[in-house]
């Protein structure tokens, strides 16, 4: 039995759930989702909200009402078949978690003409390394086959604007067609948790810069290499994919992962269910705990990009069906309310 509504546990036990809204005059009402949260060194609570230029149609339960394109469909403008993403960086009130200030990230300095259907920096995580504020997500629009690479972008937050100051496409010597959902380790600058099960951590080498010529321009690149691996594979039904940043909680490196049960209904109509887990490692990256699967608000597509610790509360940010954005305050002691895997049995 999957714990499918952990928000309910939170709101009745000292936690809270807050919708994050960017005015529809700016977004046209399309989806706000996949939020990342970060508690900055100066006490500012930051969030990056992904704005998608589509609405997700997901027919759940008995699925009586497929739309023209099936049970699961991206309702992008029909005269623009791209699935385009923009990002809003925000400051949140630390008490109420409501948005105090927001600005669209201005990417114009580094943009080139997109040539694939997924446009923009997707599922960006926000964090600060060595004094520099970054967002880092996947970009898939520079090759006509949709190749995806993580891009590390330093942002400059001024009084009037938030500017993408640098954009560096990260290359690893062993990389797949689509590299995404790498999780930044907040207190280990330039380290990403690239793979969870088994563990692989990479380190970006900012000094190894390069250029990559693509059809519509030239990209700035940096290299990275694998620096930590562990033979800690545990048998789980689906791959553990990246989600939040990796933060320290009571001495344990902790993140929230996602996994996808992707399938097709009769007639080749695609569908997917998403599940999440807490995963924890000790200081030497030995796997310590893996929670059982959970969902946030009882719906089948949710996605986490953010985890922060504010006092005794975890702050978890997620998207609901790609259409709505939320921040969940989850008192740390409620981790005991989750169910946890018996790792010995899963080895």
């Amino acid at each position: 039995m999957i714990l499918d509504n952990i928000s309910q546990i939170a709101i009745h036990n000292g936690g809270s759930l807050t919708p994050l809204i960017i005015p529809s005059e700016l977004t046209g009402g399309t989806g706000l989702c996949n939020v990342s949260v970060y508690l900055d060194e100066n006490g500012d609570l930051l969030a990056n909200i992904r704005h998608v230029h589509y609405s997700l149609y997901h027919s759940e339960f008995n699925q009586k009402f497929y739309c023209k394109w099936g049970a699961l469909a991206y309702l992008n403008p029909e005269d623009d078949l791209t699935l385009t993403t923009g990002n809003y960086l925000c400051k949140l009130d630390r008490e109420t978690h409501e948005i105090l200030e927001f600005k669209n990230v201005d990417t114009s300095k580094h943009d080139i003409k997109p040539i694939w259907s997924f446009v923009g920096l997707e599922d960006a995580r926000v964090f600060r390394w060595e004094g520099k504020l970054y967002i880092c997500g996947v970009r898939r629009d520079v090759y006509d086959n949709g190749q995806g690479r993580m891009e590390l972008c330093e942002v400059d937050w001024t009084k009037d604007a938030i500017i993408e100051k640098t954009r560096e496409r990260i290359h690893h010597k062993s990389q797949n067609y689509l590299e995404k959902n790498w999780m930044p380790v907040v207190d280990m600058p330039y380290h990403f948790l690239k793979w969870t099960n088994p563990l692989e951590i990479v380190k970006v080498n900012l000094k190894d810069k390069g250029k990559e010529k693509v059809q519509e321009g030239v990209l700035n690149t940096v290299s990275c290499e694998t620096v930590i691996t562990k033979d800690n594979y545990v048998k789980l039904p689906w791959d553990l994919r990246g989600g939040s940043q990796v933060i320290k909680i009571d001495g344990l490196y902790t993140c929230i992962t996602h996994e996808v049960d992707f399938f097709h209904h009769e007639g080749n109509y695609k569908d997917a269910f998403y599940y999440h887990r807490f995963v924890m490692w000790d200081e030497d990256w030995n796997l310590v705990k893996v929670s059982k699967q959970f969902q946030y608000m009882g719906t089948r597509i949710e996605f986490t990009c953010g985890l922060a610790l504010d006092g005794d509360d975890l702050l978890i940010t997620f998207g609901y069906q790609d259409n709505a954005a939320f921040i969940l305050k989850w008192p740390k002691h409620l981790l005991d309310r989750l169910e946890w895997e018996d790792l010995e049995k899963l080895k």
Binding site: P19, E25, G31, K68, P77, E78, G298, T299, F326
Partner: protein, 174 residues
């Protein structure tokens, strides 16, 4: 106007009853009221899927149409969603009216005329009203659409007759 605190309270009601169709519908209304039409779409669609009440499902489907129509530039989806709603409750007038409007906005007079006339012949105009605004102007709307489309289909005498009836009986001033 819905404020952040009211929306949050509604979200809490949802979290306590995520499978309740009415709560999902109400959550959709809150999001719709602040223009967050993608979020509203999610909750209206959940309502339609969850409820056993055909009328509520029909109303929720029309709401999904209305939310996405407000985003503009999804015309094919809009039309099909209205047809799904009409198929679900073929004796209700709202979907006929909205489909007739959808076609007349594109100067597709034959289709617009078809839905205006067929709706008047098929629909039960004594059925109770829906509880929320789906863009239906009232029962005179189908006759208005018939008058409008006849004007463009070579039936101007009939069109003038209908305009007069609308003016006299419904006090509709065109």
């Amino acid at each position: 106007m819905v404020n952040q605190e009211q929306l949050k309270e509604q979200i809490y009601r949802y979290v306590d009853a995520p499978l309740n169709p009415g709560v999902n519908f109400d959550t959709g209304l809150y999001y719709e009221a602040i223009g967050q039409t993608a979020a509203a779409l999610s909750f209206f669609l959940r309502c339609a899927e969850l409820t056993e009440d055909d009328l509520l499902a029909y109303e929720a489907l029309l709401k999904t149409y209305r939310c996405v129509a407000k985003q503009t530039r999804r015309p094919v989806w809009e039309k099909e969603q209205l047809m799904i709603a009409m198929t679900h409750m073929p004796k209700r007038p709202e979907a006929y009216f909205l489909l007739s409007q959808w076609h007349s906005a594109r100067e597709e007079w034959t289709e617009a005329h078809h839905f205006a006339v067929t709706g008047q012949k098929i629909c039960d105009f004594d059925a109770k009203s829906l509880n929320s605004d789906v863009g239906y102007v009232g029962h005179w709307g189908l006759k208005f659409q018939e008058a409008f489309t006849c004007w463009w289909r070579g039936q101007r005498d009939h069109s003038i007759k209908l305009w007069k009836e609308l003016y006299v009986k419904e006090r509709i001033i065109c």
